[in-house]
Structures are given as C-alpha cells and as structure tokens.
C-alpha cells in the first residue's frame, strides 16, 4: 500500500493566504491543485512536503477562461476537462482540444489543472508544448506582487520552473494572432497513457507565406517545447510538403529520446519527425481555411 509520508494540511482561503503560508513555510510547503502528479509522487515518497496547501477552494480567483480582443487568460486552477470542453478556446486555439482529448483519461481530466501541468514541468507534459507553441506567458505571484514570465523562460529544466519558494502560478496568457492556427498530434500506447512522443505546431500566415511558425516536441528530451531551428526554417517560407519534410528532419535531429517501456529511441525519433510534419500540415491547413 502506497501512502504519503505525514504532513500538515491547510486549505487556502485566497491566493494571498496561500502565498503568505508558502512564504512563511518555505521549501517545506507545497501547493496541491488537482494532485494528479503530486499525490502519486508523495505516495512513492519522491515528494515529502511537510505542509500541503490545498488551493482547490480558489475557484473564483483561479478558475476561468477569459477572452479579450488580443489575448486569452486562463486561471491556473482551470481543469483539463474545462479546457477540453471550451468551444471558444477550441475556436481560437484548436491545439488545446487536440491535446486535451489525449491527455490522460476523462476521470483524471476532471482533476488535473493547467497550473499543475506547467508547474510539474515533466518533459512528457503535453500542455507545456501546447503553451510554448502558442507563445504563452505565465503570471507568477508572490507577496510583493506579480511578474510575467515568457513560456521559454518558465521551464528551467525537467521538473524545474521559474516559480520560486513562496510563489504561485496564477494565470497563463496567450496572445490571439490573426491568420493563425495550431494543431497537436500524439502517439500513445493505450488510451489515457503518457505520450510515446507528441508534437504541437502553431503558425501565423502572411498571405501565402508562413510569417511565424513554432513546433514543440514532447517526451523526446528536455527543453524541446519550442524548437528554435524549426522556427528559423519556417519564417517567410511558402508552405509545402518539402518544407514540412525539412522541419521533420530538424525535429528528429533535435530529439534526444531514451529507450524505455514506451518505445525505443529510434522509434521515438521517427515519431518526432512524423508528428512534427503532421501537426504543422494541419496547423497550416486550418490557418488557411482548408481544414
């Protein structure tokens, strides 16, 4: 029987309350959102916080999907299921629904949150690739105020983020760009499993050429949530199968997967290439009204 090590449990009544508790308790304290990464780690004693601060009551402050003319703001406690079901979100960023359909299973999606996914910073976490492809930024709050960190500065390495002790991620902001679209493709061994490999793409068109394109890879090595050489290769180019193939090669060259029970390194590298091509192809088709 796997049971977490003992800890003290406290329920936050506001974001300020949670932050004050964390500041006082330092690195002995962890917040729990959906708990679907943290509780398994605590059961395996890979995490042994002395204090657990439950933020699930902070629905009013942290659970929302809001639209302005220029950006979408999503509260950190927004659950996978809500991201999946939002038609408004799917209309602007179809990559979210593509990804959420294949993140975990419906029961897990009832609990897991956007904030928890990004803060867990597991290289197999699908939403990190999604948010990076979309050039999202993260709002981090501490007792002295808020700061906004670009997605590519947010992840510092596997399981490491820009969120310091005494701080919380409160919101993710995603810019809405005209003539843009996005897509996500994942290969999993069975329903509800983590990715063998996956790729997400977002493009902005300028007439017949790709003004800006980003592809993120997931589960094929650390820090691949945005592959810069791919963006360089796409800029100013007209979409074509040859271009996609070149992007696939770059994806494969940048992947550094490890052989494990989900597949061999060679297979995952092949997937990185193929899924980068597929997600890009669909993103362009959507952005140009062909899908």
């Amino acid at each position: 029987m796997q049971v977490p090590a003992p800890f003290e449990y406290e329920r936050a009544t506001s974001v300020d309350h949670a932050i004050a508790l964390m500041e006082r308790l330092g690195d002995e304290a962890r917040v729990v959102a959906g708990g679907h990464s943290l509780i398994p780690m605590m059961k395996l004693r890979l995490a042994m916080p002395e204090y657990l601060i439950d933020i699930n009551d902070l629905v009013d402050e942290l659970q929302y999907i809001r639209f302005t003319d220029t950006e979408v703001r999503i509260g950190a406690l927004t659950r996978h299921q809500q991201l999946l079901e939002s038609d408004e979100l799917a209309a602007v960023f179809p990559i979210f629904r593509d990804a959420e359909k294949v993140i975990a299973d419906p029961v897990v999606r009832n609990r897991g949150t956007l904030g928890g996914s990004l803060c867990q910073a597991d290289p197999s976490e699908d939403l990190s690739a999604v948010c990076d492809a979309l050039e999202a930024s993260c709002v981090i709050r501490n007792t002295s105020g808020e700061r906004v960190v670009e997605m590519h500065d947010f992840h510092r390495g596997p399981y490491e983020t820009a969120v310091a002790d005494g701080e919380m991620l409160t919101e993710v902001r995603i810019p809405i760009k005209p003539n843009s679209s996005s897509a996500y493709h994942k290969v999993e061994r069975r329903a509800g499993d983590w990715a063998v490999a996956s790729a997400g793409a977002a493009v902005t068109m300028d007439g017949d050429v790709i003004a800006d394109g980003r592809v993120g890879l997931c589960a094929v090595g650390p820090n691949l949530t945005n592959v810069q050489p791919i963006s360089d290769a796409l800029r100013g180019q007209a979409p074509s199968e040859e271009l996609y193939a070149r992007v696939g090669e770059i994806a494969a060259a940048n992947a550094s997967p490890q052989t494990d029970t989900r597949g061999t390194a060679a297979y995952k590298t092949h997937l990185a290439k193929e899924l980068a091509v597929r997600s890009l192809r669909v993103a362009v088709a959507r952005a140009t009204g062909q899908a």
Partner: protein, 164 residues
C-alpha cells in the same frame, strides 16, 4: 484531523490523518468496501467515486481534500425505489464477471448518463477509457450502460406521456 462530508446523502464526520487517501478512508475508516482498490497508481479506475457529482480516482485524492464536499460511492446508487438502472443494466447484460472493476465502471456510467442520456457507443468507450476490465472485453459493459440509458429514456417518455 476531523473530516466531514456528505456521503451518499448523509452527513458524516470521522478522524483521519491528513495523508489518508479517500479510498482508504471510505474502505478502512468507514467500512464502505464497495469502492475497490486496485492499481494504486490512478490507472485502473476501480476506485472511482464522485466528489461533487464528478467521478474521481479516490486512490489519488486525499480524504482531507474531500472534506466539506459531497461524496457518492457505489453504495449510494441504490435508492428506496430499488437498484439504479445502471446496476440493473449490469445484471441484465452481464456487465461483470469477477466484479473487480464494477464499482468504478458503474459510478462513471451513472455520471455519464446524468450528463448525456443517449450516449453513442463511442462516447461510452471514451467515458470508461480510464478504467480497466480484465474479464469482460468491455462489450457487455457497454451494452449494460446502453441498457440503462434506453430504460431511462423509456421511463422519461412514459412519464411525459402519462395523464396529469
């Protein structure tokens, strides 16, 4: 710590350590062994219960986090009128063999039908995709859920059509 919840319609309070998982709280502290405990890794779904009408895996949910909420387990499906149509469906269509996965399957099925009274086979398969059955091959589980859905739709039609 003291944990209070509305469990299957009744307010209860019990003592448990903060680290107690909801599945053990229900089974060991309260003796409600209808909820099963299997993989312990959030993969098999036999431990599914509702927290505020939403199916969750109770092996990955602290009892403390459920305090102050409504929790429903398989023991809460039956009402004064008898078995829930989902339970009846599992009997009618052989929705179980060993019965290990059954409580979780039935809780997810009930939640699905509450949201969607006429789900397609594809929708049912997706809803139970986070739950594992090693006996039935799933086909009879799907038929059981469809049986419950059509029984409930029939009842709804009869009620609508009955004279005031």
């Amino acid at each position: 710590m003291e944990i209070s919840m509305n469990l299957n319609g009744e307010d209860i309070t019990a003592e448990a350590e903060p680290r107690t998982l909801l599945v053990h709280f229900l089974r060991d502290n309260l003796g409600l062994t209808g909820t099963h405990w299997g993989c312990d890794t959030s993969n098999c779904g036999t431990c599914v219960v509702w927290v505020d009408e939403e199916p969750v895996k109770s092996c990955t949910h602290l009892a403390a986090m459920a305090s102050g909420h409504r929790v429903k387990t398989v023991e809460g499906l039956e009402t004064a009128e008898g078995l829930d149509p989902v339970q009846e469906g599992f009997i009618q269509c052989h929705g179980l063999q060993c019965g290990y996965c059954t409580p979780g399957m039935m809780m997810t099925a009930r939640a699905l039908l509450d949201k969607n009274p006429d789900p397609s086979e594809e929708v049912i398969r997706e809803a139970i995709s986070g739950q594992i059955c090693r006996c039935t091959g799933y086909s009879t589980i799907i038929r059981s859920i469809q049986w419950a859905a059509s029984k409930e739709r029939e009842t709804a039609v009869t009620l609508e059509g009955s004279p005031a």
